[in-house]
């Protein structure tokens, strides 16, 4: 499971939080954790929204 994280200084989604270990995953196509997240999305899953 994942949750979007928003940077309050920009009010934009900054990265994804992997809830299993609270790791912060960047939106970098070269990051293998992000690649796994994209596969998870492709399976039809949806991350939890960022906190306002």
């Amino acid at each position: 499971m994942y949750k979007l994280c928003k940077d309050i200084t920009t009010d934009k989604a900054q990265c994804i939080k992997r809830l299993a270990d609270n790791a912060f995953i960047p939106f970098d196509p070269a990051n293998t954790d992000y690649q796994e997240y994209l596969e998870w999305l492709a399976e039809g899953n949806t991350p939890e929204p960022a906190e306002e």
Partner: protein, 356 residues
């Protein structure tokens, strides 16, 4: 300008100490040959020698254990002090729950994935592909034919190789020379350029015939020892070297600081400490550079320190970052929200992972 073209240069007495401008080149002082990082298993940033279990976990830096799906074998792995002469450490793998049968694509393997930048000069996937030589020291409680493979990043090109462990619980040196792959797609950037695998058991399609390139995912050789089929079986490996050419040269011993820096491109534990002044409402963004530029923007995890949120002198110490972001390959960032109108120090322990 003149040139010479000869087959052999020897010194005046016929020996092998010929010098060039006062320098005697030998195989052991030519730097940069080994494409494997942490091949002598010295660096263990995550565990400092403690045992770990679980697939995809790292015991020593840069080496982890792979699988396909549904494997039931369980194991531990750790940095060990058993090693052949010239080495001080090895990676030890111990089977704790045996798996005696596999589905076709299942397998258990120790592996290192090499960044494309570090194998680009081998020219794999072209007519100019260089031969490569893999060498390593290995020890196991089991004997017989073992296997592994060299694969591209997409795992659709593979070269299974085999080696024999002749005597149980005894260090043995193995070398395998492989003709370069002239076809397939081999990454030459910061993605997975080449995967080196030591297979410890697998199913029919995960294993193949040694000695030829195939266009499929293969990790070991047909008929090889199923190490994970024996509870309590052990497998040690160290002195891993992958180099260009058809000759296995002596292991390239790099200085500790050099090896650590190479490892930190892929994983680093950062003692994050930064200071700022809060206004009681908006957040403070703290940044700290990494020790080494990362392969990619890393995944950041706050593993914390036990300082708690108390005051040191006139400085409020926040040990629980609200938000951690590896904003660049060279800089980590922590955002503290709701800090007091005071001087604030953000202090914690972060891990940055950009593994392949």
């Amino acid at each position: 300008m003149s040139s010479i073209s000869v087959n052999t240069i020897t010194d005046a007495s016929g020996g092998t100490t010929t010098s060039i401008n006062g320098y005697t080149p030998t195989v052991s002082n030519m730097a940069g040959r080994n494409r494997i990082i942490n091949g002598d298993m010295r660096i263990d940033q995550r565990n400092a020698g403690a045992s770990v279990s679980g697939y995809f976990s790292y015991a020593v830096d840069r080496f982890n254990v792979g699988k396909n799906a549904g494997e039931t074998a369980a194991f531990t792995q750790q940095r060990d002090t058993s090693a052949p002469a010239g080495f001080n450490n090895s990676l030890k793998f111990t089977v704790t729950t045996a798996q005696t049968s596999f589905t076709a694509s299942q397998r258990v393997d120790i592996r290192q994935r090499i960044e494309g930048f570090n194998v680009a000069d081998l020219n794999f996937g072209t007519a100019n592909a260089s031969p490569i030589t893999l060498s390593f020291w290995v020890r196991s409680s089991l004997t017989g034919t073992f296997g592994g493979s060299i694969s591209n990043g997409a795992y659709n090109r593979a070269y299974p190789y085999s080696y024999t462990i002749n005597v149980a619980d005894t260090w043995e040196y193995k070398t395998i020379t492989i003709q370069g792959d002239t076809t397939g797609t081999w990454a030459t950037d910061n993605s997975n350029g080449m995967a080196v695998t030591w297979c410890l058991g697998g199913g029919s399609s995960a294993l193949g015939t040694a000695g030829a390139w195939v266009s499929s995912s293969v990790f070991g050789v047909t008929g090889q020892v199923n190490l994970v089929g024996t509870s309590g079986a052990t497998f040690y490996i160290t002195g891993v070297q992958l180099e260009s050419g058809s000759v296995a040269t002596p292991f390239e011993h790099r200085q500790y600081g050099q090896e650590l820096a190479l490892c930190q491109r892929y994983f680093e534990i950062q003692h994050f400490c930064a200071t700022g002044y809060g206004n009681g409402s908006n957040g403070i963004l703290f940044t700290t550079p990494f020790s080494a530029t990362k392969r990619a923007i890393p995944t950041m995890t706050d593993v914390g320190l036990s300082y708690g949120g108390y005051t040191v002198g006139s400085i409020n110490v926040n040990a629980n970052p609200t938000f951690v972001g590896g904003f660049t390959t060279s800089l980590s960032s922590v955002l503290e929200i709701g800090v007091a109108s005071a001087l604030v120090r953000c202090q914690t322990l972060l891990t940055a992972s950009a593994e392949l």
